[in-house]
């Protein structure tokens, strides 16, 4: 329950913080941290325009997308405490849940019959396909380490015993940050601020969404960020700490993550489109490295 609240809260401000950081680095006048929220509220107040080409798919897709992300939130544990929904292998469900959201968004984009959205759609499809193994390998290495296969138990037992776990944490966090970047289609895979449709991924997919649907999509983006943020924080928080410490650390991590994203976006340049796949596959490679380290730590690979 706590995790749900925390995620929702941090989600509200996440994008705000990012923009703020970026503006600061670019030495621009910074918008209010609540600006994203205002935008969404404004969208909720608006009607909608649907393309005459579109069909039912286009109408239902944003809802499915949003719901999938929202439901995904339920799985995220917080410190020692399990998420609302928690069972063995829930992260598989988690991953596939996000996948179905993506699936719907992709076909919705194709539903508009617009060339631009087609581009966005197939890029999105390819990238999320490529990033999937990284996520699984990462979780697998943790599972291998803790001999548990649900988010909650994974992190609950993660730091018990040796501090070697931090070796894994750091590597995992590094990978996870980039996975988050890909999943939320930020730099260096995609530049949300670009104005050229030909180079967009996520933004171009939602060109035809408006009003309520667009708002949902925005919120979903925040939630996703928050989800990955809290996953990262779970890598750090020890379940043995008391609640306040945990919350403090959690929020700290979320803010730090947001800043990090902001900084990365400010200083990185977007990859060339056809460079993206190899860049993403690197993540899987890194994840494999994590897996191997875990093998060493669990002394399946014995070195001397």
């Amino acid at each position: 329950m706590i995790s749900l609240l925390l995620i929702l809260v941090s989600a509200l401000f996440f994008v705000g913080i990012i923009t703020k950081i970026k503006a600061k680095i670019a030495a621009r006048k910074m918008p209010s941290i609540l600006q994203p929220i205002y935008d969404v509220i404004r969208l909720f107040k608006k009607g909608a325009i649907y393309s005459s080409t579109t069909s039912l798919i286009f109408k239902i897709a944003p809802i499915v997308y949003f719901s999938s992300v929202l439901l995904a939130v339920f799985f995220i544990p917080f410190g020692g405490e399990a998420g609302l929904l928690s069972f063995h292998g829930d992260f598989v469900f988690f991953a596939y849940l996000l996948a179905i959201g993506k699936f719907m968004m992709i076909i919705a984009a194709m539903d508009t019959g617009s060339g631009f959205e087609g581009m966005g759609a197939n890029r999105e499809a390819l990238y999320s396909m490529l990033v999937e193994p990284a996520f699984f390998i990462l979780t697998a290495s943790v599972a291998l380490f803790t001999n548990n296969i649900s988010f909650h138990e994974l992190f609950a037992h993660f730091h018990i015993g040796s501090n070697l776990s931090y070796a894994i944490s750091i590597a995992s966090i590094y990978v996870l940050v980039y996975i988050a970047m890909v999943e939320n289609s930020r730099m260096p895979v995609d530049d949300p601020k670009t104005h050229l449709e030909l180079t967009m991924v996520h933004e171009v997919m939602v060109l035809d969404n408006s009003g309520f649907d667009l708002a949902l999509i925005h919120i979903a983006t925040w939630l996703k960020f928050a989800i990955y943020g809290s996953l990262i924080s779970d890598f750090i928080i020890k379940s043995t700490w008391n609640l306040y410490e945990q919350i403090a650390v959690y929020l700290g991590v979320q803010i730090a993550f947001a800043c990090l994203v902001g900084i990365l976006e400010a200083f990185n340049a977007r990859n060339k489109m056809n460079k993206n796949p190899q860049w993403i596959i690197v993540l899987s490679a890194l994840a494999v490295v994590v897996f191997l380290t875990t093998l060493i730590i669990t002394q399946k690979i014995i070195l001397n």
Partner: protein, 660 residues
Amino acid sequence: MTIIILQIIIILTIVLFILPKQHQNNISLLLQLGIIGITSFWAIKAFTTSNILEFPFINLLGHSVSIKIDKLSAFFIFVINLTSLTGLIYAKGYLKPYLQKKNATEIAFHYFNFLWLHISMLLVVMIRDALAFLIVWEIMSLVSFFLVIFESEKKETVKIGLKYLIQMHIGVVFLMIAFIIACVQTGAAFSFDGLSIYFASHNPFPIFLLFFIGFGIKAGFIPLHSWLPHAHPAAPSHVSGVMSGVMIKMGIYGILRVLSYIHEDLFGIGVFILVISLVSGIIGVSLAIVQHDVKKLLAYHSIENIGIIGIGIGLGVIGLAENMPVLAVLGFGGGILHILNHSLFKSLLFYTAGSVYKQTHTRNIEQLGGLIKKMPKTALFFLLGALAISGLPPFNGFVSEFLIYSGMFKSLHAGSLLTDIVLLFSFSGLAIIGGLAIFCFTKVFSIVFLGTGRSDKTKNVTEVEPVMIIPDFIIGFFILLIGMGSFLIVQPLMNVVAIFTENASILSEMTSVLNKISLSSGIFILIIGIIWLLRAWQQKRHQVLENSTWGCGYTGANPALHQYTATSYADNFVQLSSKVTNVKKEFQEFDVDEIFPKERSFETHSSDVFEDNLVTKPTNETISFLEKIAVFQTGKIQDYLLYALVFVIVISLLTYFNLL
């Protein structure tokens, strides 16, 4: 008693030939229902009772061949019956246009073969005696061959059919050799049960390899798959549905059946199966992505799903070998469940694709588009199938893949280094397969059903008649049932898995998890519903407009012109996978001085590397060689007598040098 009824029904299939065209479907449906009734009754009995059902069926060479139904057979009986039934219902609508073209005998022959495909598949899973098994196995191949060449007016179809028949024959030869060697060396009874004696005393791998090749050709494991992508498109859709849905699973059945007799040194076998399956899965789906023919695409997906099933089984075997019960149980469980699941959504996909073909007369997706408005039911069912085959919750595909996943993750910690590495590859492979499947089905669904039509073929298309939708409803129901109520299938699944490992009870521990999954799915749908209502409420209070798609401000031309095509959608993947899919692009470069470009055509052709190098080239070369050396019938008496003289002399020489 029941057996006699079955025999009578089997004989009654002849009646089809004397019926007029219109009634044949109904009558065969009647016969089929009879078969289904009896066999399902047996299957249920087999499931409820602990021991194996056994009763004499026919005589062969004097000695009687009996039917044996254990839980594995029972499971397959259910799968076969369900899909065959839907197939026949679908056929009623699908074959309507052919009724004028073809004479009564041809139609009757088709239904006859369809029934016999059903019967032979049932017998395949019920008969243990090797000779009888080989016979029904070959009958299955034969009738399916006749079903494939239904549209025999096309020369191409017949050629494909022949290729199919030959490959099936090669398969049966492998099986025969395997059986003979196994039973000759031990002198055991010439049946599956005889194998156990052999495997107890010999290294199982060589014989298993023979069996695997024999059955793998049917199942369509890469590189034994080359018949599959051709036969399925050539066949009428209800046939492709049944063939891809259940017939190729007979190969899996065979492998499972053989495995159930092997108990020593399984690790190598497990890894072997796993590797082949991973290759099949990834290559299969990669090749699927680059196809333009929707049925060919689906055929390659069958290869992919066979791969997934194989991954499950392979992991199960490894689990047995390494004695990791969790891996064993969940691997087998997932694999076997996926057999059922694939039979469901693959037949659904083939039926819906068939409906599209029937209405548009093209299988080339580049010519389709926007059909969801014209045939909404078909479109939605295709979407359902697509979501299910991509293994997305809350549909059935997810459940089986989930079982396999959790099996792998559960055993990571316990496993040895080698096992862990194997597992690493397996789940990353599975993840990639899943992702690619999503990629592929987003492509095919949106190109066929979404956007706007890409050619005149999509104009004045209408929804198919209800009888062709009924099967979709039946299958859809089961897809959702397994997807949402996955806990229901645990018990039966446990019974089947118990054949391979004694601690199948581990599956029952999964029940709680599956409950949670169903719960989560429920919540998911609930949320969707709520938000839908919210939006409805919100949109009631604001105006909702309709306008053309945003075209960067340009609204002149029809959006279909700059709409994404299947080729362009697949392009960025093709760049990655060029090694496997080797897609050839045919187009003409722009000239330097060409200021106003003329109309241009752009085509891509993909070819199957394995098929080209392992099947097509070698066979063609052999055949041409044989043709070259066919010079014995010279027509000259002298030569004819010369043969005799040469023969005598050669034999004498051989004798003289004691070579004979």
